[in-house]
Subunit: 458 residues, 2 copies
């Protein structure tokens, strides 16, 4: 009975200390402002259509940094900091392509062009290319079982996306290891190249790139991603045990590290300027498209939080830093630098929020908050998010960038995930595949959370 009584008392305590009517009215103002404004549309349009893809080290990255600084200044930032960091500088170096050669039923030689896209950080085949037998394996177990046959081959990892998982990030989490480590694992047995089935559940023929990691101990071999229509084509051949040879051309190479910046807009705190709340996304993107959902929308939403708080003349108690992180995609060097500097300067980071799961209609947030009292406080705000569809509060990883602030309570916006792996790192990640209202709804929920954390602390 005691527990029940405590529970009954806890809620009114929070409710009393946190004026729910005032808060819901202010959040409504946030919503009306964001939904009525053209800023989010214009910002995303400019970033995707006038700047475009922005892989670390590319000229567009620097245009994006300048744009980000200017846009946050225009949105009302008290100041904008360019925090320098060194980032990997991988370049694609040319147009990836591959052709398979096989014999049809009448023993006539057939050629078929595969639409491949080299994986980020991958070495290239160079202009002479690879011309080797292609060997299909279903997964690493299959690779191990057939390791004696691997030498001299190009390995095709054909591990399908698990469509039965409701949260598509769970399916991605299961398979991404073939992208990150498939080259290494195959090189160990003498493979000369790797083609990976894209981590996607969508129809069409879009290879999805993304970074791989080489160990120091194995030979670095070229690796590329393949779209699902081409996977089907390969399956029809391998299912009939038809020998397939492959010519593969990729040109990726790693240049020396280069300079990039976290672009940090600040609203100075009026009561605790030394305590920092972070809101951010990443400014860099992969190169096959426009980095619209990954992570243009996170950038635009973060700037939208700044813009709306300023437009509503909100005076934050704490300093809020709006961070456009550098180099999330192939290094997270921006996030590391941000966390390192925070540590070096003994900064007090009280909360960090990231949006890097696409600009789709929001469901809620993932919270990574170790303190129970803080989590209870957060949960007491839940109903304030219900009108904006952001009230699904779960525990989980907040995001790759804020994750480096290991001691800081953090959250990640959780949009609906169904469409994410249609666009992720693929040619489909364009402005047209963002619904502006869905993105704005995410920004509304983000702004509401920042407002509540700033007002009531954690």
């Amino acid at each position: 009975m005691k527990k029940i009584l405590i529970a009954l008392f806890v809620f009114p305590l929070f409710a009393a200390s946190q004026n729910p009517i005032e808060d819901s009215l202010f959040i409504h103002k946030i919503a009306v402002n964001i939904l009525s404004s053209d800023a989010a549309y214009n910002n995303l349009h400019y970033l995707t259509k006038n700047i475009g893809d922005r892989l670390s080290g590319s000229p567009q990255t620097y245009l994006a940094e300048q744009w980000g600084a200017q846009t946050m200044e225009d949105a009302g930032a008290d100041n904008v900091i360019m925090q320098e960091c060194m980032v990997p500088h991988w370049v694609r170096g040319g147009t990836d392509n591959a052709t398979i050669i096989y014999k049809d039923k009448n023993s006539n030689q057939q050629k078929y062009a595969l639409h491949i896209l080299a994986l980020g950080n991958s070495v290239g085949t160079g202009i002479s290319g690879l011309h080797q037998p292609l060997m299909r394996v279903n997964n690493f177990d299959d690779l191990e079982a057939k390791k004696a046959e691997v030498r001299g081959k190009i390995i095709f990892y054909n591990c399908p996306f698990d469509d039965t998982l409701i949260n598509t990030f769970a399916a991605y989490g299961k398979n991404v290891i073939y992208r990150t480590s498939g080259a290494d694992r195959a090189a160990k047995y003498g493979a000369v190249g790797v083609i990976v089935r894209s981590m996607s559940n969508s129809p069409g023929n879009y290879p999805h790139t993304g970074s791989l990691h080489y160990n120091d101990s194995t030979k670095q071999i070229p690796a590329a991603a393949l779209g699902l229509d081409d996977v089907k084509k390969l399956d029809t051949l391998f299912d009939e045990n038809i020998p397939v040879a492959c010519s593969m051309f990729t040109y990726g190479r790693m240049l020396p590290d280069t300079i990039a910046h976290n672009v940090i807009g600040e609203l100075k705190g009026t009561e605790h300027p030394e305590q920092i709340i972070t809101v951010g996304g990443h400014l860099d993107s992969w190169d096959p498209a426009e980095g619209a959902n990954d992570d243009g929308t996170g950038i635009v939403q973060s700037i939208e939080v700044l813009r709306v708080l300023k437009a509503l003349n909100y005076q934050p108690k704490h300093t809020i830093q709006f961070v456009l992180f550098a180099n999330e995609e192939n290094g997270t060097r921006g996030a590391k630098m941000y966390a390192d500097e925070a540590k070096r300067n003994n900064e007090q980071h009280i909360f960090a929020l990231e949006s890097d799961a696409g600009g789709f209609t929001p469901r809620g947030f993932y919270f990574d908050v170790s303190d129970n009292t803080s989590m209870k406080k957060i949960n007491s705000w839940k109903s304030l998010f219900t009108p904006y569809y952001g009230d699904r509060f779960q525990t989980g990883e907040a995001g790759a960038d804020v994750g480096y602030l290991t001691q800081t309570p953090q959250a990640g916006l959780a949009p609906d995930s169904q469409r994410y792996f249609f666009i992720h790192h693929a040619a489909t990640d364009i402005f047209e595949n963002v619904d502006i209202r869905e993105m704005k709804l995410g920004a509304i929920n983000m702004a509401a959370l920042i407002y509540l954390v700033d007002k009531y602390g954690l």
Copy 2:
């Protein structure tokens, strides 16, 4: 205290009578089956790409009926009933077009083509067209204020979609009266034609059609919808008080009523075959596109519920009717016939579920259930829907078709509404604007609800 005790007892009572583990396992099987199956994709693709738009009375309607009957038979229906009804037969009759004529700053005459789309049920201008001054009014109040100027004009209703409403159906509900009644209201003051700003919040230039209704008392004048880019163009002229003339050509006309059918697939009940549960959407669609989200997805989801229950060898206690309703768009004659026949035959309809709000990612359901005990029972199932994102249970209208079963507890699938008025009755309502996983998630939630209602009653 008594109340609390009752509350504590009610939940376990439901929980005990409704095996939550067995139920969650069965619903998981439903999810895995639907997410692994190509049926939903193939069905929607066939309906949209091979049959296409299907306005009542059009040849495609009959192809769609045949397809629906065959598809439900293939999905395992015990029998398929073709329930005949008479439907209005409106035809567009030609390619709608309009041109505005005005003078620019240098007094040179300019022409500009408007992309219009006649409203359903509208009379046409005929080949001689209308050639009259165009007059802008912001709303009906504005029309009343300027009624003396209306005679002989084409009235342009320019009432913007309310972007600040989170649920876009609320914004639609506010403005749709300009489409349904704008012609009548303007005709009363002598207007000769009407152009209505489309009920949409999307960028681009897509006129959204939909039905209008004429009163018997006023002259029937032609009416058409206008896309938002053209609205902007008109606004630039009217804002500067530039006189605008308009030539408008539409060819709509109403032919005599014709025959259509509700296509009803049945799974016969094993315990209470005389008690009927209805699941459905509408088979007809507007003509500018493919009726993909309106209501191809509702049709495909309903058939998917049938297919999955059969595939999992579920033996329903009650008879489940899967109804592809005729003529929702411009008459709801199918729904009327279904309800009339139910009454005439003294059928016991215990529950009806409709999907007609698009195939977007589900949020939950709107329930129209007058009985408190039933609603409590439904609410006790909520957590079973949480893994499939369908646990937002609200009270509200279930749908235009099942709404005619006035005595029957009913529900409507409530998908996220953000993108609906991008596609609604416009050229954008095509297969490519449906995300198959989102549509499948909706079907999973529908199947789960039907399973629970069938198993436990209401």
